[in-house]
């Protein structure tokens, strides 16, 4: 099993969620994070003082899924998350050694 960690723009969340479920992903987790990368942040102004804010709001979507068919899921996510402008984010693939469903104790693929 693999864990996909997907960093996206907040505005793409709905599309990515749909893409993942369309690909048969049974579940996922969504976290609000701040990203730092090539995309420039923005200026904020308070009483005449300018502040450069270089952290950009991003969404992290994590989903654990079977290794088979991973590439298709990646492609679907790329489609859903891409706007073509700097700051679209990344997909990271991590190994997962074990999964357990808490409710039933089922493990491995059945635990998903």
């Amino acid at each position: 099993m693999k864990k996909m960690e997907i960093i996206i723009r907040p505005s793409r969340l709905d599309a990515v969620k749909e893409a993942l479920t369309a690909q048969g992903c049974k579940g996922m987790n969504v976290t609000e994070i701040s990203g730092f990368g090539r995309q420039r942040g923005h200026m904020e102004i308070y009483r005449g003082a300018e502040y450069q804010i270089d952290l950009v709001p991003k969404i992290k979507v994590e989903t654990v899924l079977e290794a088979d068919g991973l590439q298709e899921v990646v492609d679907a996510v790329l489609d859903a998350a891409r706007t073509g402008k700097v700051g679209d984010g990344k997909i990271f693939i991590h190994p997962v050694e074990e999964v357990v469903r808490i409710r039933t104790g089922e493990r491995g693929v059945n635990g998903l």
Partner: protein, 405 residues
Amino acid sequence: MNGADTVFIIISAALVMFMTPGLALFYGGLARSKNVLGTIMQSFIALALVSLVWVLWGYSLAFGTDIGGLIGGFNFLFLKGVGQEPNPQLAGNIPHLVFMIFQCMFAVITVALITGAFAERMKFGAFLLFAVLWTTFVYSPLCHWVWGGGWMGSMGALDFAGGAVVHMSSGSAALACALVLGRRQGFGQKAFIPHNLPMTVTGAAILWFGWFGFNAGSALAADGLAANAFVTTHLAAAMAILGWISVEKMHRGQPTTLGAASGAVAGLVAVTPAAGFIGPIASIVLGFLAGGICYAGVLLKERLDYDDSLDVVGIHGLGGIWGALGTGLFASLAVNGSGANGLFFGNAGQLFIQLISIVATCAFSFVLSYVILKIVDVLIGLRVSLEDEEIGLDLSQHSETGYKF
């Protein structure tokens, strides 16, 4: 005794009392999240502590029988002789208690205003002691000088609702505080960004609302003069918003909500001494310029590199000074027969009198505040430890956190 005037000042007193929690929100929103309660608490406790000082001895020092133009006598100590009947010397149309409590609210908010200067780093206990000393040795005498029969009022200085007593005095004290307490850790490097601007705007709105009681109520009667003060107050606030955001737009390219809120307060400050002496059209000019002047005043801080955290010097100090000068320019006997004409109505002398009152007020408040701060520092220490400052006042001073969403 006049029923209508009594209602008017009772309600005005309620409005002015409401300003202090309004200020707590105004300041609280500007602080960082970890200091929101500590900041609010300083205003809130002023409401308690200064009120006590006021009724015990502050009122007597301010409005007791004049001693050499400098201070009031002890005749009203513990509210002795302050009762349900009017006191004709002070205000023959309303119960003496109403006059006393209306004045009490002014003392409270003046102390609360200063807290913006040392936000996010002062010990709670130190603030309590400072508040007691400052009310006693700075506010009460100043109040006496201007309104209690002291030399400044006798000299003919015009201060309708507290440009000197409230704003210049708190602004000068704020400067002393910023200098004595020093900068917050990371000042100039880290971003100190307001944590809750809707809270700040809410506070500004409450201040504006309450300021009608502050300024119009200072007519001490429900008459045409109160009407004039009401209108000039509203217009100056409105125009200072426009002034502030215009300058801001030119300087930084964007008008901001915080700019609008700050501008409103700047205008209200500037019109405070003038409200019952100048006409509505003059207040439009006065207010618009107040917005620009206070914006510049706030920028000054970065130049001079002191950390007046929430810009009390820039807004209340400079705004108060501009208001006093503006009164010397725009005052007109046609508006208030017991006032005076200003420069633009042919009386250059008034501007000079105003100038003296500015210098005297600022110098007096700055020097005494400085001394008081030094004394408090020696006695119990002014600043929280660096670690406590890092943790924030909420946890370190009060064992609380503002939000648990």
